[in-house]
């Protein structure tokens, strides 16, 4: 660990630590529409459910920024929460630093939580309006690091200055409503990083910020990643922003991955028609730019009864008969770049 000495915490990949910090094995998360004994009896065990995540396998390497992109309802945020074990998967396993999260006791999980943190989209909703900034950031320190108030103040001061809120004294006793939106998101970042986690799930961290503030927040997140040896899972709907921060990216559609690979390769050579459409749809800040292809028909179907075969087939411009029957699997057609389309070879041409 570099110069930073946040409360004397020092961690990092020891010898023999797995290269993958996070690994998901065929994870499903279904949210039942009705629950309880009666619903179970009435439906004979077949309770309809929203299949938010439906068979996702992926791994996040230590030190990388892994992007997870898709439209509303694709299941990207649910994956973020599964990684943090905020709820257990319906099926499949989630590993963090080699440990199967489903096998940990509550106490072991509690200890592990200081190593995984989350940043949400709306800083106003993530901060308690009646808690001062010093208390908000000091809370995780109190839980995970030290009960000593002097030491706590010192740690909070240090992280405040690290996220660019200096002098820290000016912010310590303020309430969230007394500072600007950009500063609030810095507070949320500080609170997430104060325990020096290994993994940060950033769920649309800059979606609410104005363009000029957005650049500064992203720059801050990237600087801190280097200084604190962080790994980011960057959940976003914004492919243009992802381009500036992610090393690898996965594209989700209706609970499944349609494509995953190094960001540059996915953007230059998308192999799934859905990835292509998404990239094509992003508005480009250049009036001379024109979209080359028509947008796919219809809208994203319900995740309660997703389409058979390939879930994108009802909207896909190149779908054929077998797409409605056979479900495509992720195939590595370029180095490290996987795509789940029966006709990916054609798309790549």
């Amino acid at each position: 660990m570099p110069d930073l000495n946040l409360a004397g915490i020092s961690r990092g990949a020891g010898n023999g630590a797995p290269a993958d910090l996070v690994r998901l094995e065929n994870v499903r998360k279904h949210f039942p529409l009705q629950s309880g004994l009666l619903a179970n009896l009435l439906n004979r065990g077949h309770v309809p459910a929203v299949k938010a995540v439906d068979g996702v396998s992926l791994s996040i390497k230590r030190g990388e920024v892994f992007g997870l992109a898709g439209e509303s309802g694709s299941g990207k945020s649910t994956v973020g929460r599964l990684v943090l074990n905020l709820f257990p998967p319906t099926e499949g396993r989630v590993f963090f630093d080699g440990q199967d999260l489903s096998r940990l006791s509550a106490e072991e999980m509690r200890k592990l939580r200081s190593r995984m943190q989350i940043i949400f989209q709306d800083p106003m909703a993530s901060l308690n309006p009646r808690m001062t900034i010093g208390d908000a950031i000091g809370h995780p320190v109190w839980i995970h690091v030290t009960g000593d108030p002097e030491k706590r103040r010192q740690v909070v001061t240090e992280i405040l200055e690290k996220v660019g809120l200096a002098p820290a004294n000016q912010f310590y006793d303020k309430f969230p409503h007394q500072i600007s939106g950009g500063q609030r998101q810095r507070i949320v970042i500080a609170r997430a990083l104060v325990t020096v986690p290994d993994l940060v799930v950033a769920d649309e961290p800059v979606a609410m910020a104005d363009v000029s503030v957005r650049t500064l927040l992203l720059e801050l997140m990237m600087r801190l990643k280097g200084e604190l040896n962080l790994t980011y899972l960057f959940v976003t709907h914004d492919l243009a922003t992802a381009k500036y921060v992610c090393d690898r990216i996965a594209i989700m559609y209706l609970g499944k991955l349609c494509e995953v690979g190094p960001l540059d390769d996915v953007y230059r050579h998308p192999g799934h028609p859905y990835t292509r459409a998404l990239l094509e749809a992003v508005p480009v800040p250049d009036p001379r730019h024109r979209r080359k292809e028509p947008m796919p028909a219809g809208e994203i179907p319900s995740a309660i009864n997703p389409p058979s075969g390939c879930r994108f087939h009802p909207r896909c411009p190149i779908a054929r008969a077998n797409c409605a029957v056979d479900e495509p699997v992720l195939r590595e057609l370029r180095p490290g770049h996987f795509m789940a389309c029966h006709y990916a070879e054609e798309v790549l041409k």
Binding site: S180, S212, R214, L216, D238, A240, P283, D286, P287, E299
Partner: protein, 333 residues
């Protein structure tokens, strides 16, 4: 007012009274909207763009007040109309589409009833049957199946609800549609389709659209001209191609360079330091001066005027384009 201008705002001031004092959210702004164009109005949160959009319909109540200015619309000054005459303008002549269509549609009214009720309120002579016919025709044109008109708003997707909002404006043959962040709550593919639709409607119905957005990419995609606001003032206005190719105001320059561009390779995002000023105590002179990389002495003393700066109707409020001021600055240096 020349014939091709549909709506002309002159020296408009909108004030909000707050406990801390009066805040001018729109401060002496002038703007022309031309017949048949899509004018993109951009700026960051709090710059006054939405306040300006609402002021065009005199929608302000409560803490907000238009304290000065003229609002010429299709040959008359809306500021001279009585409060009783305004409802005939709102909806019928100027339509509005908001960011969240769910809050603009009545949750317990079927879409068909909403459309026919609106039409018959503004045009009582239209029969129920005729109104239904018009609604059917319109939504089909907007890509919604007729059967769905009998549904409630929550049964439709966000993109469909937004198309219903546009259909309201079209049903009343509004001359101007003010769309305030219409695609902000939509996913990119739905957004792209909605923007395509806006362009088609502009051509087909000769619709004039004021598109208020923080999304520079959206403006580049559909707008004919662009207006940039900063801290309650108009910073720059011009043809969209010209402004994007050659932005004159340093704020516009910074703004355009800090937008992520998926089509560009390897470029770094520009970091604009600082933050917009507190409008309770705006800086003297040019409001962008404290953040401006090209700031001169005069900028901190005196407000720049909004003048032509190049080809055609390209206007900007910046001292850099006042030769005398620049020369004075050089002789002092």
């Amino acid at each position: 007012m020349s014939a091709d201008v549909l709506c002309s705002v002159r020296n408009l001031i909108v004030e909000y009274s707050t406990r801390a004092g009066a805040v001018r959210a729109v401060d002496n702004v002038s703007l022309d909207i031309r017949r048949g164009e899509i004018l993109g109005l951009v700026g960051e949160s709090g710059c006054g763009k939405s306040t300006l959009g609402k002021a065009l319909m005199r929608l302000h109540t409560g803490a907000a007040r238009i304290t000065q200015g003229e609002l010429w619309f299709d040959g008359r000054d809306l500021m001279k109309l009585s409060e009783r005459e305004m409802p005939d303008v709102r909806g019928a002549e100027i339509g509005m589409v908001f960011q969240d269509p769910m809050t603009s549609l009545n949750p317990v009214q079927r879409i068909m009833d909403h459309l026919t009720e609106t039409m018959r309120t503004h045009e009582p002579e239209v029969s129920e049957a005729a109104a239904r016919g018009r609604a059917n025709e319109l939504v089909e044109r907007l890509g919604i199946r007729r059967e769905r008109l009998h549904e409630y708003p929550h049964q439709m997707s966000g993109g469909m609800r937004q198309r219903v909002m546009i259909s309201l404006a079209l049903a009343l043959r509004a001359k101007l549609v003010i769309a305030d962040e219409p695609t902000t709550s939509l996913d990119v593919i739905v957004e792209a389709k909605f923007l395509d639709l806006l362009k088609e409607l502009q051509k087909e119905f000769g619709l004039t659209i004021l598109l208020i957005t923080h999304n520079i990419g959206v403006v580049a995609e559909v707008a004919d001209r662009v207006a940039v606001m900063y801290a309650a003032k108009m910073a720059e206005v011009g043809d969209v191609r010209e402004v994007f190719a050659d932005p004159k105001h340093p704020y516009t320059q910074g703004l355009l360079r800090s937008v992520p561009n998926i089509a560009l390779d390897g470029a770094e995002l520009y970091k604009m330091e600082g933050a917009p000023p507190n409008l309770l105590h705006p800086p003297v002179g040019c409001r962008f001066a404290p953040r401006c990389p090209h700031v001169m002495d005069v900028c901190r003393r005196q407000e720049p005027s909004f003048d032509p700066v190049g080809e055609g109707d390209h206007l900007a409020a910046c001292w850099l384009f006042n030769e005398a001021a620049v020369a004075r600055e050089k002789s002092h240096a």
